[in-house]
């Protein structure tokens, strides 16, 4: 099979974050993985400890290698990417490689000087996260006083002339305020807003019972999003990401494994999907400290494991949708069925759909009462 070229790199430059959102998709336990694969050259011994964040020079090399592979867009994410002091330098390196540069941020730590420096380095666009439309609920979700600062940051981004997107993760505790969140995006002059129902990986998977909305909530929200999309069509691009447990067909995860996207995490592991490191523990990850990005994209076992359609079991193998949804999400299959090769159990044809239905039944029987969640904590061992 001819290996396609990648279009976008997600650079998760740190897992450190000042917020503690319970829906974070970052891995819950970074120490839980098997050690990185030793190489035949023995260079493993010379490499820095595998739990140390990549250096500035290492990231610059990754950016150059990604551009050479065909990548056109880079998203700087995390954790909170502003926690890295070299962010401006990395943005500049990305622009020098002609990449379109997105910053995906909580905004905490984005003062005026830094904002100007980022703009002057060539930053193309900022996606600013919000937890809700007003501070009491938003700060409760973030586990930090952040909302009012974000409002200031949004205004400053607009004043600096950088295109602004607002990102909301939608879940049981804020879904009833969807309409007000859209109003906030409009008031802040965002050109784009993502209203993404929480997907259950990392911390979100652990907190699923507290985060999954009820069917009634989901139906109401869908109607609100549809109406707002039409009303604001000339003004804001609204992307409403469906809560996939309530769907009957799976999402076309990544538009196919190893087909368009790659992610490099803070310690240099290269992932076909940002959540694969925790969801698929037996996936043998390669690291940029021991391999170049081109080899990893084209040759590695991890990128080829679910590439194309050959790996598919039934019912995917004979399904006319297989080039459309690619069998859904490998991480979700792994988390819910214990086997990443299975059809995403969200699919109505999956023999494991009952697993999803059982979760939905429990949530809908108990109603939308608040339930405790566990806040995300920072990984203790990650030093720069």
């Amino acid at each position: 099979m001819k290996v396609p070229r990648p279009y976008a790199l997600l650079a998760e430059i740190t897992y450190r974050c000042p917020l503690h959102c319970p829906y974070c998709s970052n891995p819950v336990n970074l120490e839980g993985r098997a050690p990185a694969t030793p190489t035949e050259t023995g260079s493993q011994e010379l490499a820095p400890p595998s739990n140390v964040e990549l250096t500035t020079e290492e990231w610059k090399r990754i950016i150059r290698e990604a551009a050479a592979l065909g990548v056109l867009q880079i998203g700087f994410s995390g954790g909170e990417p502003l926690a890295r002091r070299d962010l401006v330098e990395l943005i500049r390196a990305a622009r020098e490689a002609n990449l379109y540069t997105n910053l995906i941020t909580s905004g905490i730590g984005l003062d005026d000087d830094r904002l100007r420096a980022l703009r002057d380095a060539g930053l193309d666009s900022i996606q600013l996260s919000f937890q809700s439309d007003e501070s009491s609920l938003a700060d409760e979700i973030a586990g930090a006083r952040a909302h009012d600062r974000k409002l200031d940051v949004a205004a400053n981004i607009r004043a600096a002339g950088i295109p602004l997107s607002l990102n909301f993760v939608i879940h049981r505790a804020n879904i009833d305020r969807l309409s007000q969140m859209i109003d906030l995006a409009e008031a802040l002059g965002a050109g784009r807003v993502e209203l993404a129902n929480v997907q259950f990986y990392g911390w979100a998977f652990r907190n699923r019972a507290a985060l999954l909305p009820t069917r009634e909530q989901v139906d109401r929200a869908r109607a609100i999003a549809t109406t707002a999309k039409a009303r604001l069509a000339d003004k804001i691009d609204i992307f409403y990401v469906l809560p996939d447990y309530y769907e009957t067909r799976p999402k076309p995860c990544l538009n196919g494994w190893g087909r368009r996207y790659l992610t490099v995490n803070p310690i240099g592991d290269v992932l076909p999907c940002p959540t694969a490191s925790s969801a698929i523990p037996d996936l043998r990850l390669e690291n940029v400290r021991t391999r170049d990005l081109g080899w990893i994209w084209q040759e590695s076992e991890s990128f080829n494991r679910f590439r194309g359609t050959e790996w598919m079991p039934e019912p995917c193998r004979s399904c006319p949708q297989k080039e459309i949804d690619f069998g859904g999400c490998r991480c979700q299959a792994a988390l819910l069925t214990g086997n990443a090769t299975n059809t995403d159990p969200v699919c109505e044809f999956s023999p494991n759909r009952a697993v999803v239905d059982a979760v939905l039944r429990e949530v809908n029987l108990s109603g939308n009462n608040a339930r405790d969640w566990m806040y995300r904590v920072n990984p203790p061992s990650l030093a720069i």
């Binding site: 065909g70 056109l72 867009q73 379109y100 666009s125 996606q127 295109p163 784009r192």
Partner: protein
Amino acid sequence: MPATTISDLARPSLAKGVRLEIDSTTRKSVLLYPEGIVELNETAHEILSRCDGRTLSEIICELAEEYEADSNALAADVRDTLSDLQRRKLIEFK
């Protein structure tokens, strides 16, 4: 807006946050914007590479001359392309 309502004097430009680049893999022009990539056909490329402050009628004249094409037929193509890109918020008019 419908294609025919774009004024001859309108000055199309890339919308804020949109970049015109050459994709080094395919050697084709692409528009890059937040979370999106559009590959341009030759017509769109020829139009967009002239969206630098020139008016619509100037762009049409230039293209008609360069391709020795009938400027009325070409004007319709240019307007269609631009209104499609405007609908997708990739260009704006000044």
